[in-house]
């Protein structure tokens, strides 16, 4: 079982605020996932390359041809704040 501190660390990296109850649920669920990985680790996998993709597909490439994108009004439509035709965000400097 992972400890509460680890849960909070992961939550912070994911920008999640968890109530004490949610922290407990996450502790159990994350521990379950890690335990499953321990099961896989127990298998002899020498020489077996890691599976990064389940599809047997490679080289899906696109020609370098420009395609029309979004008109600016539309691009900015869902922005919380628009400042000078740009997305306004909290001060970052």
């Amino acid at each position: 079982m992972i400890d509460a501190k680890t849960v909070l660390h992961v939550a912070r990296l994911a920008r999640l605020r968890l109530s004490p109850d949610e922290q407990q649920v996450m502790r159990e669920e994350l521990s379950g996932i890690l335990e499953h990985i321990d099961v896989i680790r127990a298998i002899d996998l020498d020489g077996v390359p890691p599976t990064t993709h389940v599809l047997a597909v490679e080289n899906v490439l696109r020609a370098d041809e420009p395609r029309p994108g979004l008109p600016r009004d539309e691009a900015l439509r869902e922005a919380a704040h628009v400042v000078d035709d740009a997305f306004g965000v909290p001060r970052m400097d």
Partner: protein
């Protein structure tokens, strides 16, 4: 200072000058109005799927091949997770443990002619972040920062070197010649000012003779190689002072302020190193066809460092000539074309000197001027065979620049052919001696200093067309005459 040696590695980000972004068909642009090149993919709308730009893969392979990297038979993309407003997905698509280009090596030439060999750790593909502008007090009432997503998703290649560099000037030499190499490959504009090439340096020091690596700091994002060199020197000095006075260097990112020469630590982002990389499930592996990679390898242009070597070793140019003439891929191609049809040494003198000087006056570059390489070569040929004198050749060049004629035709039309007919020259000299009896007397008496006077006058009389060597000889023949 003594007792410690610096250990330096660099990381270079290069924006590829493809037509479109890394994972969507938005056009790349620089300086266009903000947010005019965006789409659901590069704005990270839910449910969209990225598709890799084939041209970006091709350019990454070219870079890897030019740096002697091992090309991965199969490489994959990873997500690098962090939160920042310039990254709408909250992750950057990058490469992690299987980059497209692995270990390589790059050899540069130092100013003293020695080799500077730098190990390449890797070169991988990723996407650039958007442009974040800190509004601040410049605009009344602007409290926050603003994001322009035109740049977001631009294809980048990140090149990482081994910690093989031992001085700031070596780092500068490496970076300048790497930049030149990338320009010759035609993969990027490599403009430090516009940010299409950015370099960070990892700097540490250690006692001379030690093989362990000291704690390193990362010197961020300088917009010129000169400032980067100065920043590295300042950082070496700072670390040396810390260690010499019994302190410990802290691992952190630092900033060099060119104005003051000061190094300041950047506020470290808490837990910023927990990027939680994992394979990008939305992108399948890139498996370049070995035949394609071979084609690219064989199709590589001659790169500036080997070209400089060949210019010096085979063509007899000075190291300085070679450096200047490989200054840009266009100039190098132009010069090589001239040198293919004329004596390389003479071609180098003319292209470097008179041609560039005259073209500067009219604001043209050699390769876009009317002086085609074969015209330049023809002019160098006319000089070599004595058909024109140097002053006449300069005049011919000016005419070719202005009107685009063939040099031989210009010589003919303007009567600029060199007079080497000795009888004609003798007449000119005889007339000059009649007109200047005092100097003529001195010449007959063997006064060497008047030789120059008569040679100069003869050149003037003939509008620079006389063969100066013949004139010199014929004037000298008057000594002791009567």
């Amino acid at each position: 200072m003594s007792g410690f040696e610096p250990v330096i590695g660099v990381e270079i980000h290069v924006q590829l000058s493809t037509r479109t972004k890394m994972f969507c068909g938005c056009a790349l642009s620089f300086g266009d109005p903000p947010n005019t090149h965006t789409c659901p993919v590069c704005l990270a709308h839910p449910g969209v799927l990225p598709v890799v730009n084939a041209e970006a893969v091709r350019r990454a392979l070219l870079i890897g091949l030019a740096l002697g990297c091992e090309i991965a038979p199969r490489s994959i993309f990873h997500r690098k997770n962090y939160f920042y407003p310039d990254l709408p997905k909250a992750y950057q698509v990058s490469q992690f443990d299987i980059p497209i280009c692995g270990r390589g090596e790059f050899t540069a030439i130092r100013d003293d002619g020695t080799d500077l060999v730098v190990g390449i750790t890797r070169a991988h593909l990723e996407e650039d972040a958007a442009k974040l502008t800190h509004a601040g007090g410049r605009r009344a009432g602007a409290e926050g920062s603003v994001v322009d997503f035109n740049r977001g998703g631009t294809p980048l290649v990140e090149i990482v070197t081994e910690p093989d560099l031992r001085s700031a000037s070596d780092a500068g030499t490496f970076l300048r010649q790497l930049r030149q190499t990338l320009l010759f490959l035609g993969v990027s504009d490599c403009s430090m000012e516009e940010g299409s090439m950015r370099a960070d340096a990892n700097v540490s020091i250690r006692p001379v003779g030690s093989h362990a690596l000291g704690t390193k700091t990362e010197l961020k994002n300088m917009n010129s190689f000169r400032f980067l060199e100065r920043g590295i020197d300042a950082e070496i000095a700072r670390q040396t002072q810390i260690v010499a006075s019994g302190g410990r260097v802290r691992q952190e990112t630092v900033h060099y302020e060119p104005e003051t020469g000061e190094i300041t630590p950047l506020r470290s982002k808490e837990e910023s190193h927990a990027y939680r990389y994992f394979p990008e499930p939305d992108l399948v592996p890139v498996v370049p066809d070995p035949a394609w990679v071979d084609d690219l390898r064989h199709g590589l242009p001659e790169l500036p460092v080997p070209m400089r070597r060949r210019m010096v070793g085979e063509m007899g140019l000075s190291a300085e000539d070679a450096e200047v003439l490989t200054g840009s891929p266009e100039l190098a191609a132009y010069f090589m074309a001239v040198a293919g049809e004329a004596d390389p040494k003479a071609a180098a003198n003319w292209v470097r000197g008179e041609l560039r000087a005259q073209l500067r006056e009219v604001g043209e570059e050699p390769w876009e001027s009317r002086v085609t390489p074969s015209r330049m070569a023809a002019l160098v040929g006319l000089l070599a065979e004595g058909t024109v004198s140097v002053p006449a050749a300069k005049e011919v060049l000016a005419e070719v620049i202005a009107t685009g004629g063939e040099p031989a035709a210009v010589v003919e039309a303007r009567g600029l052919g060199q007079i080497s007919d000795e009888d004609a020259l003798r007449d000119v000299i005889a007339d000059l001696m009649d007109a200047n009896p005092d100097q003529a007397g001195q010449l007959r008496d063997g006064k060497e200093k008047v030789i120059g006077f008569f040679v100069g006058q003869a050149m003037k009389q003939t509008g620079g067309r006389a063969d100066p060597k013949a004139v010199q000889r014929l004037v000298r023949a008057q000594i002791g005459g009567d």
